[in-house]
Symmetry: C2
Subunit: 170 residues, 2 copies
C-alpha cells in the first residue's frame, strides 16, 4: 500500500469516528451546483461556504463548463439543482499552455500509441489565454445551451489563490 | 443577487480574513489526484485527508474516469501527479437510472431542441447499475488507457455516505 493510500485509510478512520451526517438526502439541500477547477489550492467547502449536503461540486481542469455539461444536466434534471455558481481562479494551469503544446507533450511523453488514442477520443484540453474572458465565455455557454433551462441563474467568479478571496465577474 | 450568491460573498469574506496559504505552488505538493463524485454529501478534504495544496480533486457525476480523462492527462502530464485515488460512493444517483431514461427526461423536460443538442454532443450520462463493479471497471479503464502511464498506482475505493467511512475495493 502506498503512503497516499495509507493516508486515505487513516483520514477515513478519523473522519468516520466522529461522523454524524449519515442522514443527509441524495438531492442537494440548497439546490445548487458549484463548478470549479481541480486545482489543489482550492477548498470549495470553506472558500465558497458549502455545508455538507448543500450543493453538488463539479471539478475539472480549468472549471470548464463544456467538459462539465454531462454532470450539470444530471444535477439539474435528475437531482433538482436550480442555480449554477462557476468559479475559475488566478494562477490556473490552463492559462499556461495551448492545446497543441499539450498534444505534442502527450506524444513525446507517452508515445505514439497515446497520441493516437488522444486523436481517437477527440480530446481537447480546453486551455484558455485570459481568465476573466474565460469566465464570461463559460457563463455565456451555459446561458446559451438548450441543456440548461433559461431560468437557471448562472454567476461567474474568480477565486484568488493569493488572497483566498472569491470575487464576482459576471 | 441571489441568496446563494450572497452566501458565496459572505463565505469569501470570512475565508479570506484568516487565509494564510497564498504561497502554495501550482503543482500539487503530494503529486496525486483524487477522482470522486459531485455528490453533495462528500467532503473530499476531510473524508480523504487532503490538505490544501496536496492533490488535484476532480469531481463529476459518478466519479467517471472516462469523463475525467481530459483532466487526468493534464494533471499528470502538465502538473506532475503520479498516483490516482478513485472514490465512488454508496447511494450514488448514477445507480438509479439508465441512459435512455435520462435522455427521455431531457426531451420531456427541456424540449426537442435540448434532445437534439444532446444527440449532437453525443452525451452519454454514464450511469452504472452496480457500485463495486463500476469502481473495478473504472480502475481497469485507467490501467488500460495509454493516456495513463503503466507505473501510475490506481486504487479504487467506496465512500459510505451513511457512515463517513472510505473502504478500498481494488
Amino acid at each position: 500500500m502506498s503512503a497516499i493510500q495509507k493516508n486515505v485509510e487513516s483520514a477515513s478512520d478519523r473522519y468516520a469516528a466522529t461522523f454524524t451526517q449519515g442522514h443527509l438526502a441524495l438531492p442537494p439541500a440548497k439546490k445548487y451546483l458549484v463548478l470549479t477547477c481541480m486545482d489543489a489550492r482550492i477548498d470549495p467547502a470553506s472558500a465558497f461556504g458549502i455545508e455538507l449536503g448543500d450543493a453538488h461540486v463539479i471539478r475539472n481542469a480549468g472549471a470548464s463548463a463544456v467538459d462539465a455539461l454531462r454532470s450539470i444536466v444530471i444535477s439539474q434534471q435528475l437531482l433538482g439543482t436550480r442555480e449554477i455558481v462557476l468559479v475559475k481562479h488566478t494562477g490556473c494551469g490552463m492559462l499556461t499552455f495551448e492545446n497543441r503544446d499539450a498534444v505534442a507533450l502527450v506524444g513525446e511523453s507517452l508515445g505514439p500509441g497515446a497520441a493516437e488514442e488522444l486523436r481517437q477520443r477527440k480530446l481537447d484540453f480546453l486551455p484558455f489565454p485570459e481568465l476573466e474572458k474565460a469566465v464570461q465565455a463559460d457563463v455565456e455557454f451555459l446561458k446559451g445551451t438548450r441543456l440548461v433551462p433559461d431560468e437557471v441563474p448562472v454567476s461567474g467568479w474568480v477565486y484568488e489563490v493569493e488572497s483566498g478571496r472569491t470575487r464576482r465577474v459576471v
